[in-house]
Symmetry: C2
Subunit: 218 residues, 2 copies
C-alpha cells in the first residue's frame, strides 16, 4: 500500500517533468516564430497549449485523489501540495509562451523584434529556455543544488530586462513605438517565464528539504 | 470536533477575504500614486506588500495544518486545496499593484500616464479595483451568481486593453516611446489583476458547487 502510494507520488513528479519539457518546447518554438516571423510555428505553439492544459488537469485530478484517498501527512503531504502548485506555475509558463507566439503572429510576415533589440531579446529567450530545461531536470532528479544555481541565472534575466529598457528608451531607438511596446511586453513575458521556473525549482527544494516557502520568497 | 473544524475552514475564508480587501486597497492606492505622481503613496503600496505576503504564509500554514491533522475529504478537501490556490492568486494581485506603484515612483514628480491615455488607464484601474472589491464579497458570501457576473466585467477589461493599444499605436500618439511602454505595461498589470480576480471567483464557485476547474478554464 505505502509502496504503491510512493509510486503514485513519483508518477506525479514524472508528469510534472513531462509538462516542463513541453513548456521548454513551447518557449523554443515561440522564440523561433518570433525571430523568423514564421506564422505556422506560432500557430503550433498556440494550439499546442491545450495539451499542457489537459496535462495540468490530469495532475490536479491525481493529486486531489491522492489527498482524498491516502490522506498523506508530513513529507508526503508537502509533496502533493507542492505538486499542485508547481503544475499551476508550469501552466502559466505555457500561457506566457503563447503570448510570445501571439506577438509573433500579429506582426507576421514582418518580425516583431527590430534589429537593434534582436540580440537582447534573443539572449533573454535563450536564458528562459535554458532555465526551463534545467527546471525539468531539477524536477526529475529532485536536485536541490541545481535549484540554487537556477536563481543565479535569474539575476542575468533581470539584467537583460534592464538592458532592454535602456535600449528601447534610449536616444538611438529608431524602431518606433509599436516595436518598443512589443519588445517591452516580450521582455516581461520571458522574465515571467524565468520567475516561474525559479518558483518551481524552489518548490522542489521545499519538497526535498522541508524548508519553509516563506524563506524561499516564493 | 467537526464543528471546530468547520470554524477553521470559515476562518481561512475570512482570512482570504481580508487579504482581498488589502489587495483592493493596494490597487486603489497604486492607481492614486500613478495618476497624481505622489511618491509617498507609491512607497506605501510597495512597503505594504510585505503584510500581504505574511498573510499568505499564515493562510498556507493553517491550510497545511488542516490537511495534515484533519485529513479532510470531498467538499472539505476541495475547500482547503482551493484556499491554497486562492491565496497564491491574491498574493500575485498584490505584487501587480506593486508593479503599478513602481512605475508611478519611477516617473515621479512627473505622471507616468500621459493625458491622451489618462481616461483609458483610469477606467482600467477602476474596473480592476471594482472587480477586486466584488471578489472580496464573493469570498465572504460564497456568492456563485456574483462570480458569474464578474466574468462579464472581465470582457470590458479586455476591450479596454485593446482600446489602449489602439491609442498608443495610433498616429495621434504624441507622448513618445517611454510613455507608450509605461502604458502598455500598466495595461498588462491591470488586466492581470482582473484575470486573477476572475480565477479567485471561479475557485469560490468550485468550492460551493464542486464544478470541476477545467470547465471553468481557470
Amino acid at each position: 500500500m505505502r509502496h504503491a502510494f510512493h509510486d503514485q507520488l513519483d508518477g506525479i513528479f514524472d508528469d510534472l517533468a513531462g509538462i516542463c519539457r513541453k513548456v521548454e518546447s513551447a518557449v523554443h518554438l515561440a522564440t523561433q516564430a518570433l525571430l523568423t516571423g514564421r506564422v505556422d510555428i506560432a500557430e503550433q505553439v498556440i494550439s499546442g497549449d491545450a495539451e499542457i492544459d489537459r496535462d495540468r488537469e490530469r495532475v490536479e485530478d491525481t493529486a486531489l485523489s491522492v489527498l482524498s484517498l491516502q490522506a498523506p501527512v508530513a513529507g508526503d503531504l508537502r509533496t502533493v501540495v507542492s505538486a499542485l502548485r508547481m503544475v499551476s506555475e508550469l501552466e502559466r509558463m505555457g500561457d506566457l509562451s503563447v503570448h510570445v507566439a501571439k506577438i509573433a503572429r500579429l506582426r507576421t510576415p514582418n518580425i516583431a523584434v527590430p534589429e537593434q533589440a534582436h540580440s537582447t531579446i534573443a539572449r533573454m529567450a535563450e536564458v528562459a529556455e535554458d532555465m526551463v530545461r534545467r527546471t525539468a531536470r531539477i524536477i526529475e532528479d529532485r536536485d536541490v543544488d541545481q535549484a540554487a544555481e537556477l536563481q543565479r541565472d535569474d539575476v542575468e534575466m533581470d539584467q537583460l530586462r534592464r538592458a532592454s529598457f535602456t535600449e528601447l528608451l534610449g536616444p538611438s531607438w529608431t524602431a518606433g513605438v509599436e516595436a518598443a511596446v512589443d519588445v517591452a511586453l516580450l521582455g516581461r513575458y520571458y522574465e515571467r517565464i524565468a520567475d516561474h521556473a525559479v518558483t518551481v525549482a524552489k518548490r522542489v527544494v521545499f519538497v526535498v528539504t522541508g524548508e519553509s516557502p516563506e524563506t524561499l520568497g516564493a
